[in-house]
Symmetry: C2
Subunit: 179 residues, 2 copies
């Protein structure tokens, strides 16, 4: 049911999707849908949590490695690409949310927390001499995540595709395009 | 009138904005608005053209420099940041469009043409030995533009801000974050 709802949210927009549309796409009645969930907002929250939990698990795993900050940063950016590819429809829902309701506000707050995790990693990596000192950490974090998040606009799932893109993001962002 | 319409499109969504809303925000009647334009779709087209024309002018200027492809690529990416900052509301409209109408389809086609310009520059720069050969040109172009386009999500206009971000984009994308 969550997948069906998320597909509709992404195709026609969250606001334009009714509980009737969700029931219809599953070939069941609206009252059957309400038997399982309280309303479409609950489905939105579940979808956004699926995306955010993936990102925060990645941050947690990376934190536990004890590697230098530059390596943790690079791993977190790579993992973010993989989370985005694996949970593509959920992340797409998350990134389109504008904060119109409490549930959306909560998701935006968690997104900002994740931005802060990345910003702190950039700062730490600069302090350790791993990242060039002339880039503002918050700007770097936003640009890194901007690159990753752009996948929702153009990524087409195929075997090995996510790993190849993670490699490309990592090459460009950490080594630079210039020879 | 275009600015007023674009502000509403970005605040409440294009679909949710009526000609009445546009007239009301200007303190004039709906028939006065129709005196100047055929409908909100014309305003959408004008807004998207404002954004796209800026990008294509930048591509044209860069093409005329006769510099090596890597330098043209870097200048085009920098200029794209400046166009986005200067025409922020217009680019934001452009990037939210999903291709639901002919006007939107046309804008998406021009966006893809711009992606192709960037992809071709990456290819040429690789052929000249200016860009690392292990990155797929189309993927590199999408990631570069993903970084630039992410500004619509977080950029706050302030004096010198756009130049500082253009520098950051250029440092990260061409030199890499790693020391």
């Amino acid at each position: 049911m969550l997948s069906a709802a998320v597909r509709l949210f992404n195709e026609q927009g969250y606001d334009a999707t009714s509980m009737f549309d969700i029931a219809e796409s599953l070939g069941i009645t609206k009252s059957s849908v309400y038997h399982h969930i309280s309303g479409k907002e609950q489905l939105l929250q579940m979808a956004m949590d699926r995306a955010l939990d993936g990102l925060f698990e990645a941050a947690e795993d990376v934190r536990g490695t004890g590697l230098p900050a530059i390596e943790r940063l690079e791993r977190l950016i790579r993992r973010s690409v993989l989370v985005l590819a694996e949970r593509f429809e959920f992340v797409t829902v998350l990134l389109r949310v504008r904060g119109n309701t409490e549930v959306e506000q909560h998701a935006l707050t968690r997104r900002r927390e994740f931005d802060t995790v990345v910003t702190e990693l950039v700062k730490q990596a600069q302090a350790e001499g791993g990242v060039r000192p002339d880039v503002d950490p918050a700007t770097a974090a936003r640009l890194l995540l901007g690159m990753v998040n752009s996948l929702t606009e153009w990524y087409k799932p195929r075997p090995g595709g996510a790993e190849a893109i993670a490699d490309a993001v990592s090459s460009i962002a950490f080594e630079g395009l210039r020879m």
